[in-house]
Amino acid sequence: MKYIRLFIVAFFSFLILPKCCFASTNTYQRTREKLLIPNDVVAGNNINDILNTPAVSSDEKIYDFAELLSDNQEKKLLNKINDFMNNSEMDTAFVTTNDLNGFSLSDYAYHFYDYNDFKDNGVIFVIYMDEAEPRIFMGNGGKASTIYTDSIIKQTLGYVYKNISVKNYYQAVDDYYTILNGFYDRSQGEKKEYKIGSNGDFVVAVPWLEIIILSLSLTFMIVFLLISIMKKKIQKKHGDILDKRLDMTTLIVKTEHDQYVDTSTS
């Protein structure tokens, strides 16, 4: 009888909790009484958002709900993530999911980061396996937002999406953290702006638009100035020739009289 009960429990566990067994990330149950949110998150009118956001351990860093990575790949990525965190002193979360729990992709990402116990300075990367095609999002907070600007995020996501679109998820995430590290290193003490080259290398971002605007306006000013100077020079040369021929040493102008006549008003 004892064996039969154990068998039944095992059988139902298999049926009911398949997710728990195969999911690579543990989640915890939030309740209204136990929201499982960081201390600085105020629970007000966002309680529903909090309840709908998966509660995870912020130590794991990889939350592969969509099961895109193998255990081995996760292990390797975790090393890479640790390198990134040690190097940049920023926190990070990498999430894959099939379900946004009713949120938009960006809300999902920010709620995931904010309603779990991640540090203020950090980045989150979400791959949402939409039915049509995967969608990705990168969010940032604290000092990460000054380093990973909108332009950098756009470039980064653009670059990694090439691998995501061919289902090469591991490579995409590996590249993602390589790029994050690269941009972080280049933000330290260097004034040059970099962008991602076609091979994932870092090349100096040349602000062509600014350069062209600058050179056009400078050119306009220089040409305008030069022409004005030349025209003025010509005008000056053409002054009354007799001015130059007047012998000032002989010039006498005497006032013979200067008499008041009358006053009129108008």
């Binding site: 040059k192 100096v204 040349v206 602000p207 350069i211 062209i212 600058l214 050179s215 056009l216 400078l218 050119t219 306009f220 220089i222 040409v223 030069l226 022409i227 030349m230 040369k237 053409h238 009354d240 020739i241 007799l242 001015d243 130059k244 021929r245 007047l246 012998d247 002989t250 010039l251 006498i252 102008v253 005497k254 006032t255 013979e256 009289h257 200067d258 008499q259 008041y260 006549v261 009358d262 006053t263 009129s264 008003t265 108008s266």
Partner: protein, 308 residues
Amino acid sequence: MSGYNSELQSLPSNLDFNTNSESTISVFRCEKCGTVFQNKGGEKKCLLCNHDSLVEEQITVSDERLYIIPFIKSQKEAIFNYKKAVFWNPFVPMFFKKKSTIMNIKKIYLPSYFLEVHVDGNVSFFAGDKSKVKKNGEKVFETKRYDVLLSTNFDYFPFFVSTYSKLPEELFELVCEVKNPILQEYDDSLIKDVSVVQSDIENVDVAAMIREKVNKHCLSTIRKGIKHQLKKVQQNDLQIHSNSIKKVLCPVYLLTISYRGHDYYYLMNGENGRDYAQICFGKIEIAIFSLFLVIIISLISYLIVMYL
């Protein structure tokens, strides 16, 4: 001009060069611009407009005492000076810099008068000062009027006046503003290979032109001596005398550049190298220079972004 008294001008009599003897000379007349010149240089085209429809004819001229300034500067120097004036200016059209254009520089003598002018006499002015005053609580303009009489006396350094009307006057003045030119009595041998442009302004017109110019300049000079705001000539009794007046052939190098319906001139004094180039700015040249500048500035900015 208010109060202008032409009877008191003594200049016309000084321009009376009439002599009894006359002679006939052979000249070329340009059918296009009307320039008449003694073609000693063997020119096949007009000295001024480069047109080739020249008609040979005989004219009678009075034998007047004539002076000439010998050429000191060579044609090579004229070409060099012209190039200096236009080559480094990026806005000057390429046409100005073409060899075929430059080769048209001509060595010529221009007819002129060289005169010393003395001015004296009185000018009376209506003068006044305008000010805003309050009268019966209302703001009104009050003008105080004065009667001013100035006497003046001064000389001009000797200057040249061109008697060839087809070349812009100011161009001639700019180039031939010389303090002590070397004047020599005219001698045919001095003009053996140089064409001589014939005067096309009557003596009486030259005198009138000089009078007007000098009179205008005198008035603008002496009215600076009036300490009132408003000044208007009432009576002009200025006398313009010329102590010395000579007919002189001025040595010049002339280049006419006909570009897009306009004639531009380069003139260089053959005695002292004083020159002036009339130029224009070409749209294409401005565009090319601007493009060049844009590229250079962009390149410098790029290098700064990349390596600094």
